[in-house]
């Protein structure tokens, strides 16, 4: 049951990443994905004979990675907005060559 909820979060996050057109919207959807991963991990650790300590610590590490990733993405979005005056992905798609 919990795994199905995790799949729901995964699917919603993927749907959002493809559909959103701003970088911040995509960041929100990435957080949904990471939450699905954490939920799946804790469910597998707590409801089966697997190592429960390992599962919970893994989820804590995922949360730390999510925080680090959010700070980095925020800094990148600030730079992109300063340089392109927008955060739409279509407008930022040009390469420097």
């Amino acid at each position: 049951m919990y795994q199905l909820v995790a799949v729901l979060l995964l699917a919603a996050g993927l749907f959002g990443i493809v559909r959103r057109r701003t970088l911040v919207g995509m960041l929100i959807c990435v957080e949904l994905l990471l939450n699905g991963a954490g939920l799946s991990l804790v469910a597998a650790a707590q409801l089966t004979p697997a190592n429960a300590v390992l599962g919970q610590l893994g989820t804590l590490l995922i949360m730390g990675l999510a925080a680090a990733e959010a700070t980095l993405v925020l800094a990148m979005v600030v730079v992109v907005v300063r340089r392109f005056k927008t955060s739409e992905t279509d407008a930022v798609s040009e390469l420097k060559g």
Binding site: A11, N35, L65, V78
Partner: protein, 174 residues
């Protein structure tokens, strides 16, 4: 009685998570999408509590609801998408189609596998709460390397974020 209450609570949390994630994905304004994300985070924290993992639940509230969502809110404010701005236009048809494909591929494959092959009866157990001291011992014992690595990753991310954000306009170009 207790199993019944757990089932009802689980249904409530599933409802919160589902509604929250739908709001987070389809809302026109980014602030509303962020509120949907926070709703989802609360639902997931409730599920952690239901699985007798209170430490993870409180960390979820502290880190995600307390820190990450505030960060995303800062990003929304800095990007400053006005009412006529970026996400306001409805999405293109092709984009919607691709998004639906991205939704269906893992949903059908993993969800179908999960429904078709449920957990065998002998393998499921009722959750047991693990005291925080045990988790701390695990963090300082067998998983010490992961613990130290995540602290280095966090440090590098903070320093990198500061360096990127304070970059001078001309300094970036070689």
């Amino acid at each position: 009685m207790e199993a019944m209450a757990a089932k009802i609570a689980f249904a409530c949390y599933v409802l919160i998570v589902a509604v929250g994630s739908i709001i987070a994905v389809v809302a026109r304004s980014l602030v509303r999408a962020l509120l949907g994300l926070i709703m989802t985070l609360f639902g997931v924290a409730g599920m952690y509590l239901l699985m007798a993992a209170p430490l993870v639940a409180f960390m979820q509230l502290l880190i995600y609801v307390g820190a990450v969502s505030v960060l995303i809110f800062f990003a929304v404010m800095l990007v400053r998408s006005g009412p006529g701005g970026e996400e306001a236009k409805p999405a293109k048809m092709r984009q919607n189609l691709y998004a639906a494909l991205g939704l269906l591929a893992p949903g059908v494959v993993i969800g179908g596998a999960l429904i078709k092959r449920p957990l065998e009866a002998g393998l499921s157990r009722s959750p047991v709460e693990i005291p925080a001291a045990e988790l701390g011992k695990g963090l300082l014992g067998p998983y010490l390397l992961a613990f130290e690595l995540i602290s280095i990753v966090l440090l590098v991310a903070m320093v990198g974020a500061v360096i990127i954000a304070f970059e001078k306009r001309g300094g970036a170009k070689p």
